[in-house]
């Protein structure tokens, strides 16, 4: 039991947080799903009999269309008849009703959802008016799926959003976990993310062909952004190993260097766009190429692309850390670098590789960011290094090195994401959130110390 708690304690914390926010955010939920649509159709058939004449009123969204389609299919297979499906808002519905009524056709029911039932022409007292004006609409009723209490936190959409918004941080956290396991630190990740985003965006706009950029050109530009970040990471690694500069100092200077470069490039680009006459402003480098924008905004089987990328990278990193010699080497270097060296571990090589990997993952996150915001923002990733380190620490990796798990970091990142989301929903301001996160990190480190203490007492 004790072991279970220490190993999966963070998972329990995550579940508890989700449960808490679910409990707090319970409110009326108005379903607009195909399932709700089918149920609604059956209710209409029960009320109006097999020959029911129905109008479907929905908004112009993909989800609403699926809802309407489900109602139509269910009605028609059981003998009902959909007179018309109206997409839009109150005005369109009024017009449709008038047309139907003037044609003299009979209409018994309007199928819609909760937002639709709030539209003027479908309100209770207006329905009576319709009945008085047109005999065909007498006894017309509005049907909508039954609303029920459900936590707004615990909806598919919100949960996916939470993960999607934090995918970049979570991806960088993989690299940071490795760095911290080697008893190092990388403060440059936030700035490298911006550098990667800006470099990729600028190269797509200038050499890649701008809005009409093809996929190979975009890939090459992404590779450039990721590659530069990888080189920056390798540079940190070389400084840490061959030149014995503390990782904190190297990456601190790289943090400022990279941020400055990102701004310089962005400003020069804006100035170049304006024909070189003005000085340029530090705004985002817009990218219109559609294939680049879908990278970060598209989704596959309902799950956003960044989330897919994150999951894939976590699985890969988990395999590397637990099933490969590289993983063993990383843990050994962090646990006792001298013993590792005397056991034939190429300590310098491992360290440089780990910093380079952290850079590459940061570069990837930069591309995700640029794609989601349709442009490279030189201010992107501000303070990310702290969020990332927080995720790693909350995930149970020891800053002293030698211990930690990739899976733990994922949980850590999710805990932070969930707390952030919950605080946002509760309307807590961003500076108040900083206080909460400061306390959270403190608590995580404290728990880690307590865990170690009990371990030592037993040993």
């Amino acid at each position: 039991m004790k072991r279970l708690l220490s190993e999966y304690g963070s998972v329990l914390v995550l579940l508890a947080l989700c449960a808490y926010y679910s409990a707090v955010t319970v409110g009326p939920y108005h379903p607009v799903s195909p399932g709700a649509g089918r149920k609604l159709a059956r209710t209409i058939l029960d009320d109006c009999g097999a020959g029911a004449q129905v109008l479907i009123a929905i908004r112009k969204t993909a989800g609403d269309r699926r809802f309407a389609e489900a109602i139509r299919q269910e009605l028609e297979t059981h003998g009902g008849n959909v007179v018309q499906t109206v997409e839009g808002s109150a005005a369109e519905v009024r017009q449709a009703l008038e047309t139907i009524a003037q044609s003299g056709a009979r209409l018994q029911a309007v199928a819609t959802h909760h937002p639709g039932s709030e539209w003027g022409p479908l309100r209770e007292q207006r329905l009576a008016e319709w009945g008085q004006r047109f005999p065909g609409l007498q006894g017309l009723r509005v049907y909508k799926p039954r609303s029920y209490p459900w936590p707004s936190f615990f909806t598919r959409q919100n949960l996916l959003n939470v993960v999607n918004q934090n995918a970049a941080v979570a991806i960088i956290a993989i690299g940071m976990t490795m760095v911290i396991i080697t008893a190092g630190i990388d403060l440059s990740v936030g700035s490298l993310l911006a550098l990667s985003a800006v470099l990729t965006a600028v190269s797509i706009q200038t050499w890649g062909g701008g809005a009409g950029a093809g996929t190979p050109a975009i890939l090459a530009c992404c590779l450039l952004g990721v590659g530069v970040c990888g080189l920056c990471g390798a540079f940190s690694g070389v400084m840490v190993t061959y030149f014995r500069v503390p990782a904190f100092i190297v990456t601190l200077s790289l943090m400022m260097l990279a941020r400055g470069l990102a701004f310089i490039i962005a400003v020069r680009y804006q100035s170049w766009l304006a024909g070189g006459t003005t000085e340029g402003t530090p705004e985002a480098v817009r990218v219109e190429a559609p294939s680049f924008v879908t990278l970060g905004n598209g989704s596959l089987v309902g799950i956003p692309n960044p989330v897919w990328l994150m999951v894939l990278l976590y699985i890969l990193a988990h395999v590397v850390m637990t099933r490969t010699s590289l993983g063993r080497y990383i843990y050994a270097v962090g646990g006792n670098a001298e013993a590792a060296r005397l056991s034939g571990v190429p300590v310098f090589g491992v360290l440089i590789l780990v910093y380079a990997l952290c850079g590459v993952l940061t570069g990837l996150s930069g591309i995700v960011d640029a794609s989601r915001f349709s442009g490279g923002r030189p201010s992107a990733g501000n303070m990310y290094e702290l969020q990332v380190i927080a995720a790693v620490v909350v995930g149970g990796t020891s800053l002293a090195g030698g211990e930690g798990r990739i899976f733990g970091t994922l949980i850590g990142a999710l805990i932070i994401a969930v707390i952030q989301n919950g605080l946002n929903m509760a309307g807590v301001t961003s500076y108040e959130q900083m206080v909460v996160f400061g306390l959270l990190i403190l608590l995580a480190v404290l728990l880690d110390q307590l865990k170690k203490h009990t371990w030592r007492r037993r040993g």
Partner: protein, 501 residues
């Protein structure tokens, strides 16, 4: 059960039926211990026999599962180290609990400053410390910072601290490990002084000669069980060893000469700074060469150069006639050289990681051919060493830090044996391990020689140097000052002569 004659004096300390179980290991199985006032009880046993556990329980640092402790006839229950201290039990661990920057006086009274805000009673403390040092019979200025004291003096400060706390039982864990022979003599004088004041002393040591010199009674532990408690007069050295290991050892050094072939490792004019100044020698096939000398003679440094762990200023290393280009231990390992370092905790093992990971670390080329680990292969390889080396584990995933010293050494041995290297360098392989484990290591060295490996063993223990070497090299001040080929006719004096030249 021990055959002791009933004593008229009331025992000072009685521990009865002490049981302690760690996850997977029964560390103590009903151990009894009696200590009378004014006697020295030697506690001996192999590493992992349960001595440390017993002492930690006595000191209140560990809880026990069953049994009882009585002091002066009254049962006691310790909630922590402080309670044990207040009951009159003082434990002097191998690593001292002194603050280097504070003076001897400050260390003695550390933690017992007056509670309320007031001036420290410095004059009074100074007088008390002088009295204490006088009582022990040592002249130490109470105002000397502890970092300026020798190890022996620091030990005296610890003892003074114990006395100042009205200790009735003083436990010393390997007190002579870091002392010179003269300092050890002095320690014994202090212990005799304690005895005469009616204090009971529990003395833990691997050095049996010391046990015979100082102890009144000997208690032997083996595998967490109480093997015997006898007056020293009834015991012989061999008898104690027999009780410790549970079998008789024919000889201390089971040397078996292997067939010696052509040179394998040839070192020529190796140099690094002032530590190693032109060292040349060779180790032949099937030969065990022992390298000795005083501390600081450059023995370990030479071994590290051969292993590529440090950069050399000059010199060549050849294996089987091929000159090696070594720039890192990785190169040396790949070439077939391995080094079992002296300090296993800081250099031999990654303590926070598991036994399996430590074992596999130098063998990744076998267990992870394309970078992907073959779990079954590495597991089987470790299993194949656990029984022959008698490694006691709760599981492969056990953290190396939780193993006893002897078992840690065996894991280090196993990971290098798995490499099947051609040249094996042992740096003080038997330091700090018990008689039984020493014997096993000697057997292992024999086996390596018989397989045609070249073995270089660094050791400071002259009987071991004489007992295990086919040839002896002596170093002094970075140079090889002598070579003794006729080991059978060599003496310790002859070696010392070369070592100080």
């Amino acid at each position: 059960m021990t055959g002791d004659a009933p004593d008229v004096r009331h025992p000072l300390l009685v521990m009865r039926g002490i049981e302690k179980t760690y996850p997977g290991v029964r560390a103590l199985r009903g151990v009894d211990l009696q200590l009378r006032a004014g006697e020295v009880l030697a506690l001996v046993g192999e590493n992992g026999a349960g001595k440390s556990t017993l002492i930690k329980i006595l000191g209140g640092a560990l809880r026990f599962d069953a049994g009882s402790i009585e002091i002066g006839g009254r049962p006691v229950h310790f909630r922590g180290p402080l309670a044990a201290q207040q009951a009159g039990i003082s434990i002097i661990y191998q690593e001292f609990n002194l603050v280097p920057a504070l003076t001897a006086r400050e260390n003695i009274f550390l933690g017992r400053e007056p509670r309320r805000f007031s001036w420290l009673p410095i004059a009074q403390e100074r007088r008390r410390s002088r009295e204490l040092f006088q009582r022990i019979g040592v002249a130490i200025d109470p105002e000397t910072p502890c970092r300026d004291l020798t190890v022996a003096e620091q030990q005296v400060v610890e003892i003074a601290k114990a006395l100042s706390q009205q200790a009735r039982v003083v436990v010393m864990d390997e007190p002579s490990a870091a002392l010179s022979p003269r300092e050890t003599e002095h320690l014994f004088a202090v212990i005799r002084e304690l005895k005469s004041q009616g204090i009971g002393v529990i003395y833990i040591s691997h050095r049996l000669s010391e046990v015979f010199e100082i102890a009144d009674r000997v208690m032997v532990l083996r595998d967490g069980a109480h093997v015997g408690m006898r007056p020293i007069g009834e015991l012989s050295r061999d008898r104690i060893i027999e009780m410790m290991v549970g079998r008789t050892l024919d000889t201390e050094f089971p040397k078996q000469a292997a067939r010696i072939g052509p040179p394998r490792l040839v070192v020529n004019d190796l140099r690094r700074g002032r530590a190693v100044r032109g060292v040349s020698f060779e180790v032949r096939r099937g030969e065990v060469v022992t390298l000795t000398g005083l501390v600081g003679a450059g023995r370990t440094e030479t071994a590290r150069l051969i292993f590529g762990a440090d950069r050399r200023d000059g010199g060549t290393i050849a294996l089987d006639g091929r000159t090696l280009r070594l720039s890192s231990p990785r190169d040396a390992i790949a070439a077939g050289i391995c080094l079992l370092t002296e300090d296993r905790k800081s250099q031999g093992l990654v303590l926070s990681r598991s036994v399996q990971e430590n074992f596999s670390l130098p063998n990744m080329n076998r267990f992870a051919p394309w970078g992907l680990l073959r779990a079954r292969r590495e597991c089987a390889a470790l299993e194949s060493f656990v029984n022959p080396l008698q490694i006691k584990l709760t599981g492969r995933k056990q953290a190396a830090a939780t193993l006893s010293g002897g078992n840690q050494q065996k894991i280090v041995l196993a990971k290098w044996l798995a490499r099947d290297a051609e040249v094996v360098i042992f740096d003080e392989p038997t330091r700090g391990i018990d008689v039984g484990a020493k014997y096993e290591i000697y057997l292992l060295i024999n086996r390596l020689a018989a397989q045609g490996k070249a073995v270089l063993m660094i050791s400071s223990e002259l009987p071991e140097v004489l007992g295990m070497g086919d040839r002896i090299l002596v170093m002094h001040d970075g140079r090889i000052t002598g070579e003794i080929a006729d080991v059978a006719g060599a003496t310790q004096e002859q070696i010392m002569e070369l070592a100080v030249r």
